[in-house]
């Protein structure tokens, strides 16, 4: 089928890139179609905090000119993309979903943005998120929630709900997310899209506003496994400006997605990440997907990771501890909001008033938990113990990967819940990340991809694939094989079933 006459916003990135390379359509036309779509639907979805219409069209025309001049361009040149508002982009407001950074224009590009530009991708805008990436629903954004395109009354997941909703609403074919405890994978699961958290250190954190530095990792989001691989390859790789960046070749994720073959692979079901606590329709679609993997020639076995039940507790000590020190920089002195500077108040009073006015409830809760966990007298019992649990979880993964090539679980215990249901119940909100957190603690790579709609509510279910550090390619090998088998069965991608907005 030719691209001419097709609805450009419903095409995947690989198709758009090919059509542009063959001269069937220009980047300007593709970009304009997505900007028009954003104009049509984003008042209801609210995926974007900032739409960069002028900049995007300028970038698209530049790519079209360079292509016409015969320049060799990257595989995603001219394809539009949405970027989570936690990555800096020169001169463009970067808010992290917070009032404390309202209107702040960073003076430098993050490495991820730099690589997107170098690859010729067209940045459409900055997407909504839970404030400083703290949340699982995008309700903790200071600028209002994002709505799930499958049901506008429901959450799109979080913290990267804006990026996931932009994909599901056909506002962008690609998006960048960041994942500290599941913020790429859980939104992917509840919006019927694909998202990957690369190995820690696989994608540079330079210019990624820090939440918890030992957990944060930026990664690719898309509607297909192949598109996710293409974006992964565009942003990954060593960066001397991030001292935790891995100095090794990026696994060939695109080739793995093309191979899409699980024959002979050993796949482990994590006993502790299924069963009780998981919604019936989530378990059903997960079990069906596992049966497909068996049919495709994989050997599926059950493995136990006995310390995973402590992962949530360890995470909600380590993350707040790191966050409380990272967010100390928001003091109203050098950039961002300043409150109460009346000439009489002291610097300490101005800081306290600024932070009180600039931070939302979830950020305040986590800063105080972190302050408590790191205080003398409590440090060993809380933060010290959590770091030991982190070791135990890493050992569980090592033991499991001695037996199998990848592990699988449901990505999230439930489908998308209603906006408002859990917003003031922190523990209930934290449980959404129960299956995604172990990977962040150990630094592994993981993917979520859609495996169907839960029969009871008709909402998307995600399956998580977990691989050892630096084996990100295995995610794509398994994910692409499963996606192809599901498309065979359904006749289309799951996202094609999203209701018209």
């Amino acid at each position: 089928m030719g691209i001419i006459g097709a609805d450009l916003v419903r095409q995947d990135a690989a198709t758009l890139a090919r059509a542009m390379a063959e001269g069937e359509v220009s980047s300007e036309e593709v970009t304009r179609a997505h900007l028009d779509r954003i104009g049509e639907v984003d008042d209801r979805v609210h995926a974007f905090l900032q739409v960069l219409s002028t900049e995007a069209l300028d970038a698209a025309r530049d790519i079209d000119r360079r292509r016409a001049a015969g320049e060799q361009l990257g595989p995603l040149a001219g394809v539009p993309i949405a970027v989570k508002d936690v990555l800096t982009m020169t001169g463009v407001p970067t808010t992290c979903g917070s009032r404390v950074l309202e209107g702040w224009r960073p003076p430098y590009d993050s490495t991820v943005v730099e690589r997107l530009r170098a690859g010729g991708l067209v940045i459409l805008g900055k997407t909504n998120m839970d404030e400083f990436a703290m949340g699982s629903s995008t309700e903790h954004s200071a600028y209002g929630p994002t709505h799930n395109p499958w049901d506008l009354e429901r959450i799109p997941g979080g913290s990267g709900g804006g990026s996931a909703a932009a994909l599901a609403a056909f506002e962008a074919p690609l998006a960048i997310g960041t994942d500290t405890g599941g913020s790429i994978r859980q939104p992917a699961a509840v919006t019927g899209t694909v998202g990957v958290k690369p190995t820690y250190g696989g994608v540079s954190r330079y210019g990624l506003v820090a939440l918890a530095s030992s957990l944060d990792q930026a990664g690719p989001c898309a509607r297909t496994v192949k598109d996710t691989a293409l974006l992964h390859a565009a942003i990954a790789g060593h960066d001397p400006r991030d001292s935790t960046s891995i100095q090794a070749p990026v696994p060939d994720v695109v080739a793995a997605a093309d191979e899409a073959d699980v024959r002979g692979m050993r796949i482990g079901l994590v006993r502790e990440l299924r069963g009780e606590g998981y919604q019936a329709g989530v378990s059903q679609r997960f079990d069906e997907a596992v049966a497909i993997l068996t049919d495709l020639g994989a050997e599926v076995v059950e493995v136990s990771c006995p310390h995973f039940e402590y992962a949530l507790a360890a995470y909600y000590l380590i993350l707040p501890s790191e966050a409380s020190s990272n967010l100390a920089r928001f003091d109203g002195m050098r950039y961002g909001l300043r409150m109460g500077d009346d000439g009489a108040r002291s610097v300490e009073e101005v800081m306290s008033l600024t932070r009180e006015a600039g931070f939302g409830a979830e950020v305040k809760r986590r800063i105080m938990i972190g302050t408590y966990a790191l205080s003398s007298g409590y440090y060993d019992a809380y933060y010290g113990s959590a770091q030991k649990v982190r070791t135990l979880i890493t050992r569980d993964f090592e033991a499991a990967f001695a037996q199998v090539d990848v592990l699988v679980s449901p990505t999230a215990p439930t489908t998308a819940f209603r906006i408002g249901d859990k917003v003031d119940d922190p523990l209930a909100m934290y449980l959404n990340d129960i299956a995604t957190i172990p990977v962040n603690l150990a630094g592994n790579a993981a993917m979520s991809l859609p495996v169907g709609l839960a029969p009871e509510d008709g909402l998307p279910v995600g399956l998580q694939i977990m691989a050892p550090p630096m084996a990100d390619d295995r995610l794509y090998r398994v994910g692409a094989a499963l996606e192809a088998a599901l498309v065979d069965r359904w006749g289309h991608l799951l996202i094609e079933e999203v209701p018209a907005l």
Partner: protein, 98 residues
């Protein structure tokens, strides 16, 4: 485990430089207490012989080449400052009146 009081939260907020309103203190005291009781179970398995992990992918002595490259321009820093005066950040007084 002792539970977190309103006074504890007030102390934590002061350490964290958060000027919480009185109703916030009440609200957070209950919530933080529930969270802390829940996360305290990490101590159940944190035996003495288990080494702590601070970074998932350990690396040591990471250096980059010592070459001059452009930094952030001072004018850009000034433009983002909440208050700028005489080529410097203007800040409130740093000493308390005692």
């Amino acid at each position: 485990m002792t539970s977190l009081t309103r006074a504890d939260v007030e102390h934590l907020a002061r350490l964290a430089r958060l000027q919480l309103a009185p109703e916030e203190l009440d609200h957070y005291a209950g919530q933080l207490d529930v969270i802390l009781q829940s996360v305290a179970r990490v101590s159940e398995v944190a035996a003495d012989d288990i080494p702590p992990t601070s970074h998932p992918i350990p690396m040591a002595n990471v250096f980059r080449d010592d070459v001059v490259r452009p930094g952030v321009r001072r004018d850009d820093i000034a433009a983002a400052a909440p208050a700028w005066e005489d080529d410097r950040f203007r800040v409130p007084r740093i000493l308390d009146e005692e």
